[in-house]
Symmetry: C2
Subunit: 95 residues, 2 copies
């Protein structure tokens, strides 16, 4: 099944509900930085996201330095943001 | 205990034994890219590195996109590479 890209209005509506996430300059990705008490807590969070990613078969682009985790979500197959990115961001927020 | 920075000769000697790791331009960090079959395998590797990092109290700067993991090691307290980075790189290689 092809994954369709969100329209600009779908995208803006979804982003309104995702406080803390910002749209990339080209409008094709959303990103958020998460800060934790320490590495242990940051990696605990990453593990939860990884289990989710494996289950959803949708994967974040992310970086970690000590207590900080930077997550970028985009759908390469759709050439931009899809509903999958929004679902994943919502699930991450629920952690 | 202060962590001392490796001398250039100590650093070069250590790097000779670490195939695949490259020195950053400023000589203060080493980096290597690891490629796996898929995300599941890449994150399995990251989990092993995270347990090691937590135990060593020394943390990588790293990024992951699907099956790829980019690791950079440096010791901020020493202003460059220390024996800790070499030990961590050796331990990662042993995985």
């Amino acid at each position: 099944m092809a994954i369709s890209r969100l329209t600009p209005s779908e995208r803006d509506e979804a982003l309104t509900a995702l406080a803390g996430w910002t749209l990339s300059e080209d409008g094709r990705a959303i990103a958020r930085r998460f800060t934790f008490a320490d590495f242990n807590e940051a990696f605990g969070f990453m593990t939860r996201v990884a289990l989710l990613a494996d289950k959803m078969d949708h994967h974040p682009e992310w970086a970690n330095v000590y207590n900080r985790v930077d997550i970028t979500l985009t759908t390469h197959d759709a050439g931009g943001l899809s509903q999958r990115d929004i679902k994943m961001a919502e699930a991450i927020e629920a952690f």
